[in-house]
């Protein structure tokens, strides 16, 4: 039988804060990988059949 865990309002607020922090860090990492990729490709970014 499964139990549903009840969080207090404060625990829910902290969980939301943690979730937003994780989302922000992941988004920043995606942006960093994208920018580094563009930098490493350099001038070759357009060097492909269109």
């Amino acid at each position: 039988m499964s139990t549903i865990m009840q969080l207090t309002p404060e625990e829910e607020r902290k969980r939301n804060q943690r979730n937003w922090a994780i989302a922000g860090v992941l988004l920043a990492f995606v942006v960093l990988v994208f920018v580094v990729t563009i930098v490493k490709l350099g001038g070759n970014v357009m060097n492909r059949p269109l």
């Binding site: 009840q6 625990e11 969980r15 990492f29 580094v36 490493k40």
Partner: protein, 309 residues
């Protein structure tokens, strides 16, 4: 049902820890010194690195250092809970569970090393992995509780970031200058931490951590601090003497070393009742000293006065 929930720490999945608590787990003050020494070395290293890659390298170093700090706090929670200086940290205070600290630290450690490998280079990544492993396995798990030389040998972990920064730019870790910078931080670490340990020796004694003041006493510690100060001065002057760094660094190093010697001698001569004040002065000055020395070598390169610039 009463409607009264058990404390968050007793219910799996419930937590009152916020992002700030997880940030505290990364020891941000230690991280700032590590990142700064790496940044200065990235600036002074020969060759060029794209600013975006440099930022990526510094982020990886910061996260890797933070991960090592989190793993240290996981392993040392029992000691931290006893010591006044550390008992408010997230794990001993109960804000973050030990298991969460372990998972957080291990995840970030792996993440930082892989990100360094793919975004910056394999040599820098290997050095970062070695730094984290040395800090966690050699210093935290082995040396800290077993030998009076704990922070002397363990200091190697904190001294490696300049070598990582150098490798991020050059792809090579076997040059003279980054290892001289390593030596400066390596020899700076004992007087820095022993000054702190002198000021809080009862704390370390209570936690049974064999710091030098606890095991050998105050006089021996002050002698050691003075001896390491002379070694630090010699190491700091070497890059200038070898012509690897220029006059801006040389002048800053000279003034900085005179100051360091002044505070170390003041501690060495201080009467017992003034020891704590003198120790804390040296501790505070040592942080300023390291920032000043690394600022000078970076500034010298930026204004074009470094040798070969």
């Amino acid at each position: 049902m009463t409607g009264v929930a058990a404390p968050a720490t007793e219910r799996p999945g419930a937590s009152l820890a916020g992002p700030a608590d997880y940030l505290a787990l990364l020891k941000p003050r230690v991280m700032s010194l590590v990142v700064f020494t790496a940044l200065a070395t990235i600036i002074v290293a020969p060759g060029s690195i794209h600013p975006v890659i440099a930022v990526a390298a510094l982020l990886c170093i910061a996260v890797g250092a933070g991960a090592a700090g989190a793993l240290n706090q996981w392993y040392d929670a029992d000691i931290d809970a006893i010591m006044i200086r550390t008992r408010a940290r997230p794990v001993p205070s109960g804000k973050i569970g030990a298991q969460q600290a372990l998972e957080f630290g291990a995840t970030l450690a792996a993440f930082s090393v892989f990100a360094m490998a793919f975004l910056v280079g394999y040599v820098a990544a290997a050095l970062l992995a070695a730094t984290i492993a040395f800090y966690v396995f050699v210093y935290t798990m082995w040396l800290k509780r077993s030998t009076v030389q704990n922070i002397v040998i363990g200091g190697a972990a904190g001294a490696l970031p300049p070598v990582i920064g150098w490798a991020a730019v050059t792809g090579n870790a076997f040059d003279t200058l980054p290892w001289l910078l390593f030596l400066i931080i390596f020899l700076w670490t004992p007087p820095h931490f022993w000054a702190l340990a002198l000021a809080g020796s009862e704390d370390y004694a209570r936690a049974k951590v064999p710091m030098l003041p606890v095991v050998k006493g105050s006089r021996a510690t002050r002698n050691h601090i003075l001896a390491y100060t002379f070694l630090l001065i010699a190491a700091t002057g070497t890059p200038f003497a070898l012509g690897l760094l220029g006059p801006v660094y040389g002048a800053t190093a000279l003034i900085g070393c005179l100051g360091f010697l002044g505070f170390a001698v003041a501690l060495w001569r201080a009467p017992k009742e003034a020891e704590r004040t003198a120790a804390m002065r040296l501790f505070a000055y040592s942080i300023f000293y390291l920032f000043a020395v690394f600022t000078a070598l970076a500034a010298e390169r930026l204004i074009g006065l470094a040798p070969g610039a």
